[in-house]
């Protein structure tokens, strides 16, 4: 029984995917463990932290043909059917919309059925086992200039992903926002540099106009959750300051969804409602060679108290003084009372700029 079986497990993801919810993801490359998988009990000289109940009790015949621990013989049922005989909850888990192909194929890809030094009888530590088959994630996490603490704390990968089956793509346990606020929904969180991070539960409770990806609980539309090179793990460039010279590529994040022509055309009657007659006021504010106002000057990217994500005020300068925007909506446009500039009113019905 103490024999050591070394197997290099080929996980035929493509074929399995066709049988489950991962079909939508399309064919996937074959993946292979680089570590050796041991299915027999750990050798006597190796530390055992966790044992499977029947093995610990010497009840070999629960799984094997014989009760003799020296010659237990073959297992009594093929594949996962044997495991699911006791682990009944997997009938529900493996019926979920998205399934992890290795889990569909064999529990033994990740678990030792006898004992282990790792929790849940895993062959290797949870995160390490995941990254072994998902080297791209390992590389992103290792090379990222901005790290995400979630990858190295708590249940690591399993904080956000269910390694068996889930109802959300990417085997996410919940929709992204519901997962993110598990950590980012409290005061006192800080980033690697010690800067306080927003309590998003509180922010959203206090600000009822949510940016569409926030309302859709789709944080990953803008944030790279495994690590990245941009400020705040943003998926693409976004100006970090109030002023920036206008350059299309600086706004790659916003233009991932928004139409870049909204700031590119000086005159329009179709691209935006922020216009005075046909004079495009987004163009006027943002499209400047030097001190262009960035999106953040007027919009709060997560949530605001006013429609269109318009801020009430924006932190300005090194001390973060709050610059009031004083925006008021009107039936055909709006008014911004002075702080940035003298009070100005715009109207889509009008012919050009007007001032009070």
């Amino acid at each position: 029984m103490a024999r050591r079986r070394t197997v290099h497990i080929l996980v035929a993801l493509a074929g399995l995917a066709a049988a489950g919810g991962v079909a939508a993801a399309g064919p996937r490359a074959l993946r292979k463990h680089t570590f050796k998988v041991r299915l027999g009990p750990l050798p006597a000289n190796q530390k055992v932290a966790w044992s499977h109940g029947p093995y610990e009790a010497g009840d070999c015949s629960i799984c094997h043909a014989s009760a003799d621990p020296r010659k237990p013989g073959p297992v009594s049922k093929p594949g996962n059917e044997l495991c699911f005989g006791c682990h009944e909850e997997f009938q529900e888990i493996m019926a979920r919309r998205y399934k992890h192909p290795p889990a569909q194929e064999s529990c033994l890809h990740c678990h030792n059925p006898h004992n282990s030094a790792e929790k849940k009888l895993l062959h290797v530590e949870l995160g390490a086992g995941c990254k072994d088959c998902h080297p791209a994630i390992r590389e992103v996490a290792a090379k990222a200039r901005v790290k995400h603490g979630a990858l190295e704390t708590g249940a690591r990968c399993a904080s956000c992903h269910n390694p068996h089956g889930a109802n959300v793509e990417k085997l996410l346990i919940q929709l992204p926002f519901d997962l993110c606020v598990n950590c980012h929904g409290a005061d006192g969180m800080k980033d690697h540099a010690g800067v306080s991070l927003t309590n998003f539960k509180k922010l959203l409770e206090e600000n009822r106009f949510w940016h569409a990806p926030v309302a859709a609980k789709d944080c990953s539309a803008c944030h790279r959750t495994h690590g990245g090179d941009n400020f705040r793990l943003l998926v693409a460039d976004y100006p970090a300051k109030f002023y920036a010279p206008y350059d299309l590529k600086n706004y790659a994040l916003c233009y991932g969804c928004h139409n870049e022509k909204v700031v590119g055309e000086p005159v329009t009657r179709t691209l935006t409602n922020f216009r005075d007659g046909s004079r495009n006021l987004h163009f006027v504010h943002v499209n400047k060679a030097e001190r262009g106002r960035t999106c953040r000057a007027c919009h709060d990217v997560h949530a605001s108290k006013q429609p269109l994500h318009i801020r009430q005020g924006v932190p300005y300068g090194v001390k973060g003084w709050i610059l009031r925007i004083n925006y008021t909506k009107t039936p055909t446009g709006g008014t911004c009372a002075k702080t940035c500039h003298e009070t100005k009113t715009y109207s889509r019905a009008g012919a050009g700029a007007s001032r009070k």
Partner: protein, 282 residues
């Protein structure tokens, strides 16, 4: 924006204000068109030549995808919709994509070819349709009914986008109800094995049953007790304890377990049979 849209927006705003607790303020679909509004019936030139409208009265679900070239989200969405279109090809679903007329034809053709799109691509010269509907985002999917009224608006989602569009098409086809849409939009948490209520108790129950089959009644009884300790309401565990005790010749105790199993689940067959057998032995 029409009076009807303003009225709906006002009503939605009042409803939103009346709601308590966390939740976003209601948003309009396209900036100038709300659900229920007509999307217009003008014909636009197509990329392949000819002209086509955004919707057809012959389709119960008219799906239109606004996209642009040189954008990852648009490309991934078009690919997903191309697959989705094949899935619905035998049902009354009509698909079109819409692209601004400002993009070079070659760029649009390249994007469409890479995505494997088979349906018509409408070219919006001068962004007339974009402006009339108020399309502010790319990609975005709209669904209209057979009368050309907007049923649904689905802006891009990085996660579960295809599922969200698919279920809305099915609702337009009247294959599912709103509750099914809600289930897709708010998928239940995928609990880990040990988080599932009763899962651990049932493992002990099944192990105990396997042990009893192997005539190890004392171990079976021990497993049943662990199961009961974790889930006192699990009738099957009480029945197992009764059967294990009966196998060990301890019918008076077994009867108490059978009675408890039958109290929890009057139809529990194992308990009823076990009780009968024990009573016959007395």
């Amino acid at each position: 924006m029409g009076t009807a849209v303003r009225a709906r927006r006002l009503l939605a705003g009042l409803l939103g204000a009346a709601l308590s607790g966390i939740g976003p303020a209601p948003a309009l679909a396209f900036a100038n068109v709300a659900a229920g509004d007509p999307v217009g019936d003008e014909e636009l030139p197509t990329l392949g030549g000819g002209r086509a409208a955004l919707w057809s009265p012959r389709a119960l679900a008219n799906v239109f995808v606004f996209f642009r070239p040189r954008q990852d989200h648009s490309l991934s969405t078009l690919k997903a919709m191309a697959e989705c279109e094949r899935e619905f090809e035998k049902r009354p679903v009509r698909w079109v994509a819409v692209v601004s007329g400002d993009w070079a034809r070659e760029e649009v053709l390249a994007t469409v070819a890479e995505a494997g799109v088979r349906f018509a691509v409408l070219v919006d010269a001068g962004d007339e349709l974009y402006g009339r509907l108020g399309v502010r985002l790319h990609p975005v999917v709209g669904i209209a009914d057979a009368r050309g009224r907007l049923l649904d608006y689905v802006p891009f989602h990085k996660v579960n986008y295809c599922d969200m569009v698919r279920i809305r098409i099915r609702r337009a086809l009247k294959e599912v109800d709103q509750a099914a849409v809600e289930r897709v939009d708010h998928p239940p948490r995928a609990l880990m094995p040990n988080e599932i209520p009763g899962a651990v108790a049932k493992r002990h129950l099944h192990l105990g049953e396997a042990l009893l089959q192997r005539k190890q009644w004392q171990k079976a009884a021990a497993e049943a007790r662990v199961a009961i300790g974790r889930s006192p309401e699990l009738a099957a565990a009480h029945a197992l304890l009764g059967r294990a005790l009966a196998a060990g010749g301890r019918c008076p105790e077994a009867l108490r377990s059978f009675d408890e199993a039958l109290r929890l689940e009057p139809g529990n067959r194992a308990a009823a049979e076990g009780r009968k057998a024990c009573a016959a032995r007395r």
